[in-house]
């Protein structure tokens, strides 16, 4: 197990390395000059050139890349071109808000999606199944900015139960989490439903029934856990989506977090911040997927890594 984790972390390093190269290339391929951003819209060309020189932007790309990696090996993510702050500081300021936002959004998806999945599986091909499945699809079709505003308007403004956006504790998290949960739950619902239907036809479910277990016990103890594997797999992938899409939640609910930082960095060609946030996101996704693989072992004892 430990050796497996070590091997996977090795793979993660390879992935991060790949991502760093692609990001670097993409960041440079966009015809947009960071020096211009720093100098402001009215700066002279000379100033811009000076800035370019100062940042090393006049060097060939591979030189810049090697320098970047060299600094990275010393855990130095560089300085933001735009904010004049170390990228690590910028990230550290925003990490927890974004992490809590993403985590609660993810939990909301699970909290909404999984019970609905169980419900639809138990009611498969009955009216309840159709209604819930269609509602879940309605959820997918809603856009986060729109649903977010609607929820804010009704539950933050008209009936002010929740704060009108902004970073904060539990009360601030509920509406964004709900928004993400509603738009994202359907995938879990569908996945869980189909894998539960699969498990429900397994022989060991019949065994459980033959022991005289009540239907709820059969489902809770014998079906769900077995049906969870594909859901967990998707959960890992979903974290990637979530971290990529958290900017929409942040913008809608006024959370000044990593998503916004990354998004702005892209339009401002703030390469150190782009690199830093992309690598961090990638690292988190890879770690999460590793975590998912470890969770497998606890869910399904048949899975062993060596």
């Amino acid at each position: 197990m430990l050796s497996y984790i070590i091997r996977r972390l090795g793979g993660a390093l390879a992935v991060l390395f790949g991502i760093s190269i692609v990001t670097f290339i993409l960041a440079y391929a966009v015809p947009s000059d960071p020096a211009r951003m720093i100098a402001g819209p009215k700066a002279s060309l000379a100033t811009i050139m000076a800035i370019r020189h100062q940042l090393g932007l006049d060097q060939p790309m591979y030189v810049q890349y090697v320098r970047y990696i060299w600094r990275l090996l010393h855990l130095n993510l560089g300085m933001s071109y735009v904010y004049n702050l170390p990228v690590t500081t910028l990230i550290a300021q925003r990490f927890w808000p974004t992490a809590s936002l993403a985590l609660s959004a993810w939990i909301a998806e699970l909290v909404i999606g999984i019970p609905l999945g169980i419900y639809t599986a138990r009611r498969a091909r009955r009216i309840g199944d159709y209604i819930v499945s269609i509602l879940a699809l309605v959820g997918i079709s809603l856009l986060i900015p729109w649903l977010g505003i609607v929820l804010l308007y009704w539950f933050g403004f008209k009936i002010p139960i929740f704060p009108l956006g902004g970073t904060g504790g539990i009360t601030h998290l509920i509406l964004p989490a709900l928004t993400y949960g509603i738009t994202g739950a359907a995938a879990y619902t569908r996945l869980l439903k189909s894998s539960m239907l699969e498990v429900l036809r397994q022989d060991y479910v019949r065994t459980a029934r033959a022991k005289g277990a009540a239907e709820s016990r059969v489902v809770n103890r014998h079906v769900i856990r077995n049906a969870l594997i594909p859901v967990i797999t998707y959960g890992g992938i979903d974290v990637g989506y979530l971290l990529g899409g958290v900017v929409l939640l942040e913008v809608t609910f006024n959370w000044n977090g990593l998503g916004i930082l990354a998004y702005n960095a892209i339009s401002e060609s703030d390469i150190p911040v782009i690199m830093g946030t992309v690598l961090l996101t990638a690292l988190l996704v890879v770690l999460f997927n590793l975590l998912v693989d470890i969770v497998y072992v606890f869910v399904d004892p048949r899975i062993r890594y060596s």
Binding site: P31, S32, N84, L164, N256, S267
Partner: protein
């Protein structure tokens, strides 16, 4: 209202005098980047920096009149080339250090790159100030000085110019040239001073700066008093929250959680304006300020189809500016020239041949005259992908299609747009210009050949205009300058490298219990004059 001129004052309470104390909350929709006065050139930053830092001179209230700030008075030599500022005595930085002429010299040196700062303010004093270029070009600046900036005594600052400049005091009012405490900067380090540890002589001091916003606290030792002798500022605290969703910001304001809506976010978001207009209570809180900014449709006169003058003229008639103004939720007004109406130099009565108006028939004729059959020409319209641009793009695209020009739309992010624009590779683009200071030169200089292609993204070049611009820059004679402005404007409209589109206005909403707010013409709106009714204190 950074970089946006204006003269309308905010609500004033006649009955009672200003109330001291209380705090307010404001929302902004963009991140703060840098609070170093030498670097702050970004809208949000320049709103905050003047609350903490002060300059030699500033504007009086909401007017465009220059008055002393940290300089109690100043003398200008006859030739207009030497400015001597007499500084206010007894002013202290909030850390207790005294303000001296050196505080300004330090900042000039910083702007010229002393500590590795790449200041956008550099272009405003180099090459105007004597020795600026030399100093800027020095590799090793330690122990060196700018020869034209001197301090005969601790409270006198002398600045020498290479040539007279009518708007030099306007330049000195820009936050780039604030007083800073070099000792403090050395202590906290340049980088920290840049971003997290601002410290000046102004009415407020930063008590908290983080990713969520800034909290400004009253500087109890502030030197300035109101006209009744009460200490400024009135407010104990101003909290500025970074809230990206301007629609939610509007809701926050409606809920009474913020004092102003529009401050730092360019007015009430256009999506919320109809809601505000239709609600009588909110409608009463709305106020409109001209922003002193223009939007124009630039055409590349150096390469591409728009080298053809007739085609450019056709464009002047093809665009329905009234509709563009309408699409801005009625905030903006159609433009017929470069300089906005509130800026000196605006030409009230343009000659008939250059007052273009929407006339598709004429546009079609001109297109034919330019040698294009309808549908034969395809152009690419480039714009930024923010704000109104997508709507305007499509309106313009439609207008062009109506006269027989096919138009593709290319939307770029802000930085890519300018990178491309400043390399002169855009054929047709929507751009805008916010004033730096209320002077015609600030707008007209965009047409100078030597600005191409960076600021003059159309590559417009007319030697006559260049000569006039040179004169406009150095002349100190107001009347002559106004004449020059008009001549340049008319000539430029004849050459038609642009289609002026709109002048923009900002629509704000102000809570009825907020008093003393005014929209500053060129700088950040000073918060020191704001006071609020008792019981409305906000902490966010």
């Amino acid at each position: 209202g950074c970089g946006q001129g204006g003269n309308t004052t905010g609500t004033q309470s006649a009955a009672t005098g200003p109330v001291e104390g209380g705090s307010i909350v404001l929302d902004t929709d963009s991140n703060f980047k840098d609070f170093d006065p030498a670097l702050a050139y970004f809208t949000t930053d320049t709103e905050v920096v003047p609350q903490v830092y002060e300059q030699l001179v500033t504007y009086q209230g909401a007017s465009t009149n220059i008055v002393g700030d940290l300089a109690q008075s100043w003398d200008v030599s006859k030739d207009g080339k030497t400015y001597t500022f007499h500084l206010r005595k007894g002013v202290k930085f909030t850390n207790g250090d005294a303000l001296t002429a050196q505080s300004f010299i330090d900042e000039f040196e910083r702007v010229l790159g002393k500590t590795g700062v790449n200041s956008p303010g550099e272009g405003f004093i180099d090459p105007v100030v004597v020795g600026a270029t030399a100093y800027h070009n020095l590799k090793n600046k330690t122990g060196q000085h700018i020869s034209g900036v001197t301090a005969p005594d601790p409270y006198t600052l002398r600045i020498q110019l290479n040539q007279p400049q009518a708007y030099f005091l306007d330049v000195m009012a820009m936050p780039f040239f604030s007083a800073v405490d070099q000792k403090y900067i050395n202590k906290v380090g340049n980088a920290a001073f840049d971003s997290t540890s601002m410290m000046g002589t102004g009415p407020f001091m930063a008590s908290q700066i983080n990713a969520n916003g800034v909290v400004l606290k009253k500087n109890t030792g502030y030197w300035n008093k109101d006209k009744n002798g009460n200490a400024l500022p009135y407010l104990d605290q101003v909290k500025i929250r970074i809230n990206k969703n301007d629609q939610v910001d509007a809701l926050n304001f409606e809920q009474g959680q913020t004092a102003l809506l529009g401050w730092v976010i360019n007015g009430i978001p256009s999506a919320s304006i109809p809601t505000f207009r239709s609600n009588p209570k909110l409608k009463k809180m709305m106020q409109t300020f001209p922003e002193n900014a223009n939007y124009y449709l630039g055409m590349n006169v150096k390469t591409g189809p728009f080298r053809n003058h007739k085609l450019r003229l056709a464009m002047e008639y093809a665009i329905n500016k009234t509709k563009l103004a309408q699409l801005s939720a009625g905030k903006d007004v159609p433009a017929n020239q470069d300089i906005p109406p509130a800026i000196p130099g605006y030409v009230k009565n343009l000659p008939a041949d250059v007052s273009y108006s929407y006339n598709p028939t004429k546009a079609k004729q001109l297109l034919a005259a330019a040698g294009y059959k309808p549908g034969q020409l395809t152009v690419t319209l480039t714009s930024q992908n923010s704000g109104l641009a997508p709507t305007w793009d499509q309106a313009i695209q439609y207008d062009l299609q109506q006269v027989g020009i096919n138009c593709k739309i290319n939307m770029l992010n802000n930085n890519t747009f300018y990178t491309e624009g400043m390399s002169g590779s855009l054929t047709l683009f929507i751009a805008g210009w916010y004033q730096d200071f209320p002077d015609p030169y600030d707008f007209l200089m965009l047409l100078a050949s030597n600005q191409a292609p960076s600021n003059n993204m159309t590559w417009y070049s007319n030697p006559q205009v260049d000569a006039w611009l040179q004169q406009l820059n150095t002349s100190t004679n107001t009347k002559q300058r106004m004449t020059l402005s008009k001549e340049i404007t008319v000539q430029f409209l004849k050459d038609a490298p642009w289609v002026p589109l709109c002048f923009s206005n900002a629509v704000y909403a102000i809570q009825p219990w907020v008093h003393g707010y005014y929209f500053s013409p060129a700088l950040g709106d000073p918060l020191q004059h704001i006071w609020i009714d008792k019981g409305h204190s906000q902490t966010g």
